[in-house]
Amino acid sequence: MICKFEYHKLKRSHRPFYSMLSIILYLFFILFGFYTYAQTQTGGQVNFRYTFENRSYFNGLTFALYAFYFAVMMVLPIFAATEGGAQVAGETHNRTLYLMLARPLSRSQIFFSKLFVSFSYLFFLVGYLLAFALLTGLVFVGWGTLNLYPGVLQMSHVHQSLSQSEALNSFACAWVLASVALSAPLALSFLLSTWIRNPLNAVSTSIALYLILYVMSEIHFFVKLRPYFFTSYMGFWREAFREEILWGQIFQDGAKILAFTFVFLALAYRRFRLREEI
C-alpha cells in the first residue's frame, strides 16, 4: 500500500518524464557525434594511419555500448542522486513527512518503501536507456558483431569479439549489474537526504560529492585512495562484455559496491530512525 502511494508520488512529480526526455536528448547527441566521427574516420578524411577503425566497427551495438558507458558513469548517477536526494528531504521540506508519520506506519516502512520505489525507478531508467540505445542503434546504424579493443572505453585487456546474440546477452547482464552499481550513489543521496532538510541542498550535495569521487577515481594520481571510493567500482558491469565472462571478478566488485550501498543505507536509516521532526 505504502509502495503504491510512493509510486503515485513519483508519477505526480514528473521526474520520470523529464528523465526520459533527457535520455532521448542525450542519445540524440551521442548518435550525432558517433555518426560524424565514424564518417570522418572511415570516409577517407584520415591520412595514413594504422588503425582498427572501419565501417563494420562502427555499428549499432558499438553505439549502444558507448551511449550506455557514459550514461552509467556520468548521466544516470545524477538521476540517482536527484531521486535519492528528493526523498526524505523533499518530504521534510514540504512538511508532508509529519502527515506520513501521523499514520499507523513505522519509520522503517516509510524508509524502505521510498528506497524500493526509487531503486525500481532507477532499474527501469537503466533498462529504458539501454533499450532505446539498442533500438536507435538498430534503426539508424544497424547491428553486427561487437568488437572491443584494449584501451577503448577501458573495457578489455585483449581484443574481444562478441557475436550479435552474445552481445545482446551481455547487454542484458549489464542492465542488472549497472543498476547494482547505481545503487551506491542512490544510497549516498538517501543518506544526505536524511541529514539535509532542504531537497535542493541534498540533491546538489549528492551530485557534487559523486562528481568529486568520480574524478578522483579516474585520475591515477589518487591511486592509493582509489580502493576507498565506491566510484572506482562503478564500471564493474563492463566485465559482462567478454567472450568468457569472469563471474568471480563480477561478484567481487559487485560485493564492494553493495558494501558501500549498505553502509550508506544503514547510516541513513539510523539517522532517519533517531532524528526528531521539528
Partner: protein
C-alpha cells in the same frame, strides 16, 4: 532497530566477501635459476629522465646494467637510449664478448645484444624520431626475426607511424618466430586516464591494437614498466609459448625512469 542490524550485517558480509575473494598475485617478474625456457628476452630503456627531454645512458651506470644483465642470464637484450656504438662496445666488452647490432642515426640509439648464435640480414631502418633495427637471429637451429624500436615520446602520430611501419616490416618476414621489443611510449592500461601524458590518446589505442592484432603482448597484466606508473615497454612476439614475464623492479639506478622487462619464451 532490526532493519539497521540487517543493513550493517549485509555491509559487513559484502565487505568480507569482496576482501576474501580478491586474489593477491605477484605480477612482476621474479628471477629463479629453476626457471627453464628456450629463450629469455629483455628490453630496457636505459636512458635517464634528467634535463628537459631526458638523457641517454650515462657511462657510470653501465656496470650496474651489466651486472643486472648477467644476473638475469638472458639470450637477447634490446637496449634503448645508448649514446652510440662505442657505448654498445663497452657493454659488450663488460658482458665478456656478447655481440650486438646498433641502429644508425643520431644519439639515443637502439641496440640488440645476443650471447649465442649469430645474426644475418641486419638493417637499420630510418624512422622518426630515430632508426629502428631489424635482423634474423639464428639460435638452436631456429631463426627468430628481431625488431628493436624506440618510438617518439612526444607525438602520438609519430608513434603510430613508426610502430605501424615496424609491425608491417616484421610481419613481412617469412620466419615463424618473431619478436618486436622496445620502448613504444604507448600506455593504454585499463585502470587510469592517460590523456595527461599523450597528445592523442585515441591514436595510441589504435597504435597498440594494430601491433596486438598480429603479435602477442607477452607481458600483459604484469604491471607498470616506467615512472610514474606507466606501461611503456613491450615485448610483442609470435610463434612462441609465453612461460612467464614482466618488469623487474628495483634495479634501475640514478635518474633512470624505466624498469627492465623480461620474458621467458619457448619455441612452439
Amino acid at each position: 532497530m532490526k532493519a539497521e542490524i540487517v543493513l550493517w550485517s549485509l555491509a559487513i558480509f559484502m565487505g568480507f566477501y569482496s576482501y576474501t575473494s580478491s586474489q593477491i598475485t605477484e605480477k612482476h617478474y621474479r628471477f629463479s635459476k629453476m626457471n627453464k625456457q628456450d629463450l629469455r628476452v629483455i628490453t630496457w630503456n636505459v636512458g635517464g629522465s634528467s634535463g628537459e627531454k631526458g638523457n641517454a645512458l650515462r657511462y657510470e651506470f653501465i656496470p650496474r646494467i651489466v651486472n643486472t644483465i648477467k644476473s638475469l642470464q638472458p639470450d637477447i637484450i634490446f637496449l634503448q637510449e645508448l649514446v652510440g656504438r662505442h657505448q654498445a662496445e663497452s657493454i659488450s666488452y663488460q658482458l665478456r664478448g656478447w655481440r650486438f647490432i646498433v641502429a644508425k642515426g643520431s644519439n639515443r640509439q637502439t641496440a640488440i645484444f645476443f650471447k649465442n648464435g649469430f645474426i644475418r640480414n641486419a638493417q637499420s631502418i630510418p624512422a622518426e624520431p630515430r632508426h629502428f633495427v631489424i635482423c634474423d637471429y639464428y639460435h638452436k637451429k631456429r631463426v627468430v626475426s628481431l625488431l628493436g624500436l624506440h618510438a617518439s615520446a612526444y607525438s602520438a602520430k609519430r608513434r603510430n607511424t613508426v610502430i605501424g611501419y615496424a609491425t608491417d616490416t616484421l610481419r613481412q618476414k617469412k620466419t615463424k618466430y618473431k619478436i618486436l621489443a622496445g620502448d613504444l611510449n604507448v600506455d593504454i592500461g585499463l585502470d587510469k586516464r592517460h590523456d595527461l601524458f599523450s597528445d592523442n590518446e585515441q591514436l595510441d589505442v589504435e597504435t597498440y591494437n594494430y601491433a596486438a592484432k598480429f603479435f602477442k603482448d607477452t607481458t600483459l597484466l604484469t604491471g607498470n614498466t616506467a615512472e610514474p606508473d606507466r606501461r611503456l615497454d613491450y615485448i610483442f612476439a609470435s610463434g612462441f609459448v609465453v612461460k612467464r614475464g614482466g618488469p623487474i623492479l628495483n634495479v634501475k639506478t640514478g635518474d633512470m625512469d624505466h624498469h627492465p622487462v623480461v620474458v621467458d619464451l619457448n619455441f612452439e
